[in-house]
Symmetry: C2
Subunit: 314 residues, 2 copies
Amino acid sequence: MTQPVYDRVALIGLGLIASSMFWAIKRSGLAGEVTGYARSAETRETARRIGLCDRVCESAAEAVEGADLVVLCVPVGAMAPVMQQIAPVLKPGATLSDVGSVKGHVVEAILPHLPEGVHFVPAHPLAGTEHSGPESGFAELFDNRWCLLVPVEGSDRDAVDRLRRLWQGMGANVDEMDADHHDLVLAVTSHTPHLIAYTMVGVADDLRRVTDSEVIKYSAAGFRDFTRIAASDPTMWRDVFLTNKEATLEILGRFTEELFALQRAIRTGDGDHLHDYFTHTRAIRRGIIEAGQDTDAPDFGRGQAGGQTGGTDK
Amino acid sequence: MTQPVYDRVALIGLGLIASSMFWAIKRSGLAGEVTGYARSAETRETARRIGLCDRVCESAAEAVEGADLVVLCVPVGAMAPVMQQIAPVLKPGATLSDVGSVKGHVVEAILPHLPEGVHFVPAHPLAGTEHSGPESGFAELFDNRWCLLVPVEGSDRDAVDRLRRLWQGMGANVDEMDADHHDLVLAVTSHTPHLIAYTMVGVADDLRRVTDSEVIKYSAAGFRDFTRIAASDPTMWRDVFLTNKEATLEILGRFTEELFALQRAIRTGDGDHLHDYFTHTRAIRRGIIEAGQDTDAPDFGRGQAGGQTGGTDK
């Protein structure tokens, strides 16, 4: 067991991330006591039944009282109302953090309510599954994944370093960047790809001449991965797009611009344009493998999915 | 060892699919002799060095002579010229097949050159990796994957059934459908998703404010899967889009229509529209899991990739 990083941690919102944080904290003894609160009585009941949190409280204020670290694990759109409830009881010297997928909006929502003497250190663990709710968490979720810390102007250095130790203790690699850059990077690597996957799955389902069973049966890794991405929590993703509007719309604009150029090449039969583009993206992939960020084993991942994943279908 | 399905099989083109076919045929003793031909002298030399094919020939005609089954494993755009070379030497009663990802165009390219008494049975194995070339093949590529047979009008029933036995012997599940339906299904499940993945990878690379290393480092399953898809063989994919133009453009049209609706919802802040859409696509995913076509294990696939794949990033 490691030395605890915090005496008391409060988790507000008990979904996939919070429940995984609890089990990861317990796995390595990173906190003395972990309290929890969820808005829904049913979620609180489930949490008590499965032993999620040392103490499940009946209000956010109760859970937060006396905590050295408070982590807001609610959808981005719910941050401000929750903050209003807990601001009066936040302990002076405590650290306040969150796990939202958008950072600029969260900073704007939280800062006006931040009491003097409370350290605000926004964070974003780049980890998730297609599941949500208090029973979906597991201690290994953050192992070898990145957690991005997004300190705001005047963030206390000690508070940042302590939060970093917590995330490292939960298995994550930690980096720091500013909120605007975070939101742009995530718009590229995560938010826009998710919207595209959602769209493609919706199109496939709409097309009545191709049955759902055909779509499912004959799709290998590519499309099946799209369906997995498109199964993530709807509320969380609605809030992501509404609050990272500017960066997402910018990347979407770039995306449709490129897509239209390829579409025109298909329509006009411009094989050279297509070949050049595909050669270029292949080189990007080679760069990723050379950087050691992925494996190029040809049967990659297939064993785990009954021979139906890995590789690309044609 | 199974009883051989064919005395002599000729593979024209020695890339990923043909080389995998050779090893899968050898694994189960499905043919007496397998001859091979590739246009490039370098490829033929490599094939001889690694023992790919029982006999590597210096011309397509030589490889085809006396073969009971000839399989065209060249890019879709190269089918017609190859067919012109081999038509005069095809053995009466032999079966001619292919492995192209587009079927309508291949049928149109081949039929005018088909000699009397030769049975044409187009096929498409739904299997691949990001790799290409004679050294990329492996015997397990088709295990538990689908191979679609696309008989043309007047295809000999015995010839179809025999080819089915070969593909089953190589580990594949076999279905039959007509060429137009095949091309539409594949436009939905494979061709359009590939184009989208190519586009997204191109966008990420173009965006100078986000470095490539950031794109790579902070992208989990979603975007990383896109890069894998976007690394497939450029020539093959160029030909797919040029020859399945109509279906691909139709699905692309539907895709951009849906994407623009979601984009407008983001811009206008219409959270209900987004939430409804995402709830619907989540239900599609649940349908796939209930149909037993995929696993919903939360740490799905992670073990195989150093904890960096599986799940969706946020």
